[in-house]
Amino acid sequence: MEVKTASFEKVSSPKTTKVSGAEAVIKCLLEEGVDTLYGYPGGAIMPVYDELYKYQTQIHHVLTRHEQGATHAAQGYARVSGKVGVAMATSGPGATNLVTGIADAQIDSTPMVCITGQVGSHLLGSDAFQETDIIGISTPITKWNYQITKAEEIPEILAKAFFIARSGRPGPVLIDITKDAQFASLEFTYKKCSGIRSYKPKPEINLSELERAADAINNAKKPMIVFGQGVILGGAEELFKQVVEKSGIPAAWTILGLSAMPTDHPLNVGMVGMHGNYGPNVLTNECDVLIAIGMRFDDRVTGNLEKYAKQAKVIHFEIDPAEINKNVHADIPVLGNVNETLKILLEHLKPNKHEAWHQKFKDYYQIEFDKIIKNDLNAERGKIGMAEVIDEINKCSKGDAVIVSDVGQHQMVACRYSKFNQTRSNVTSGGLGTMGFALPAAIGAKMGAPDRDVVAVIGDGGYQMTIQELGTIFQTKVPVKIVILNNDFLGMVRQWQQLFFEKRYASTEMVNPDFITIAKGYHIKAKQVSKREDLKEAVTEMMESKEAYFLEVKVEQEENVFPMVPTGASVSDIRLE
């Protein structure tokens, strides 16, 4: 007898599973390809952690020692891998501790999704235990944020979060989930987000502007390129190299553009900006066409805007329309992802060499070499200099390591002297200048690029801002290499005090602990070096170590970083001493 009925047939059609909101969060992360996340548990996020326990073979949760560490680790992971970094925290203090990392990711365009627990929705606004308005707090520093109060919102909102974080100009997204939404159940289906009607990640490419740009470049006598992280974020490194090589145009980088092009490439003329190289800074004010690619004319790059490249026709390749004419007027704006716009540009470019113009960069480099670089690298007396340490790392890494730097003098030295053959190798806090960034970022970087050597170069000040992450290194056994350039000073502030505040060293001298004992307390191999003759061996030992390694180098105490464009000065008034 036929028993099949219409209602019976219906049962087999839609494939959904009933899960808790907390489990849905994990399932969403897996759908988005997340294999590693960084976080710290607490009351309001406990249901999600309970699910993480069940899914621990599929997703690696790294317990950092502070939520700020979780954000920087997620950033380090994102910067080397190109994937979205994920950080998780509880409500209240857990959420507020994410703020610095979120602000850092916002200003440096790093794709990151932060998930915070929130008190139950019936308690919202009651000043409940560990309640803070993290949506209100994070609004100005996120690309997008959203509070989930119903379990069924979770799949769609998390899909949007990942889409927004990684598309267009990337950035941080914060999703706050009330505890009741984590406990409640929903029918789980997942659909990746492919578009949002009010959000246009990629501006339309204007072919006539591109043709104008190509004309200007082809007719330029003294063109110069300044490239930023946009080249890396757009995955346009190879295309960019072809543009540079075909056009023969000298290319200088911003701190976040570093490693988008090999540092030893003959057309790579060094860094622009406050502690950048002599040639590209001076010649910014001599070039006839300035081609800015995926950069945003930060004040540390431009110095005094009234005296910045006024003689030049400015062409600005940029994905974010709000960056056009924000700081520097673009005579020819070229909107779009550089991996598309440079492809079209390349077709229109005429081969050129610009040899005489390129020689000018070489001449300025020689001046800088004689006045600064030679001494930085080959100091013969006094204590070890910071650049000597970087140079030794280069000799061991052959330019293949990821260098994660913190903020201050050592950062400028690391960026000036590090050699890079590969892209996504320079991880540093550029826009926000977050001291304490490097140690946790290095953890994330090593996990995001496990086959590469990751060296964190940190000052004695910044190191102590997130020093507790040594605990994360100990627990996860992540083999990062940590170099502290210890001058027992907050060196960059001290340099400014020396140059602009008549040597009044207000609160910049550091009385430091025994860093070796601290590292050993976490069972991390540690060594201190203070004599030049021991440096090579110590760096080599660190670079060859298969485990995490801590190297403290006692460096010259009152070394200054030059060249320098003092604040308010023009880039061409860069000081060599």
């Binding site: 949506i135 209100g136 609004t139 100005p140 690309k143 997008w144 944020n145 959203y146 509070q147 927004i164 492919s194 578009g195 949002i196 009607r197 009010s198 959000y199 974010d320 329309p321 709000a322 056009i324 004419n325 924000k326």
Partner: protein
């Protein structure tokens, strides 16, 4: 560049927190908002913010760019006064005794094309819609009689030019 009044019109999704996201853009630049109004717009489900600020054109251009960059903002425009038809509404609450006794007040109301909204034995509420100087002028006239309460709305404005919001949304629907 000279500072003047600009009206920023922002079309957005209707979501919690968007007001504070937009306001934060002014706050970050240390710019005071002269008036702000939010309401539904001509497009179903789309909100419209009308924000008046006194800034330079260079500033307002950048602000509109930063606002438009927000995920849930569909479009942001800025206009000068002469590119818009704009109005404000003011309510004046006055003592009924004063109103009945003093014929001047009745004249002010007639002359200024104001409207009586409510009459009770204790107070009258008068409404005036117009330009800022018109509501201000009635305010000055009524003030000597002891205004019990006064309130004025933000500027609301429609542009002389077309606002192609529906086209933008349709374009998204056809390309996605």
């Amino acid at each position: 560049m000279e500072k003047k009044d600009f009206t920023v019109s922002v079309y957005t999704e209707n979501n919690i927190g968007l007001l504070s996201r937009i306001a934060a853009i002014f706050q970050k630049r240390h710019i005071n908002i002269e008036s702000i109004t939010a309401s539904r717009s001509e497009v179903n489900g789309v909100m419209r913010f009308t924000i008046v600020v006194q800034v330079t054109e260079d500033q307002v251009k950048k602000i509109a760019g930063q606002i438009e960059k927000q995920i849930e903002v569909i479009k942001a425009f800025y206009h000068t006064d002469d590119e818009m038809i704009y109005q404000e509404t003011a309510l004046y609450k006055i003592n009924s005794a004063d109103f009945v006794e003093d014929l001047n007040i009745q004249d002010f109301i007639k002359e200024s094309n104001a409207r009586i909204v409510t009459v009770t034995p204790k107070f009258f509420v008068i409404e005036k819609t117009g330009k800022r100087h018109e509501t201000d002028s009635l305010y000055e006239k009524l003030k000597p009689y002891g205004l019990m309460q006064f309130v004025r709305s933000g500027t609301i404005a429609v542009t002389k030019n077309e606002m192609p919001i529906s086209n933008i949304l349709e374009k998204f629907d056809t390309t996605n």
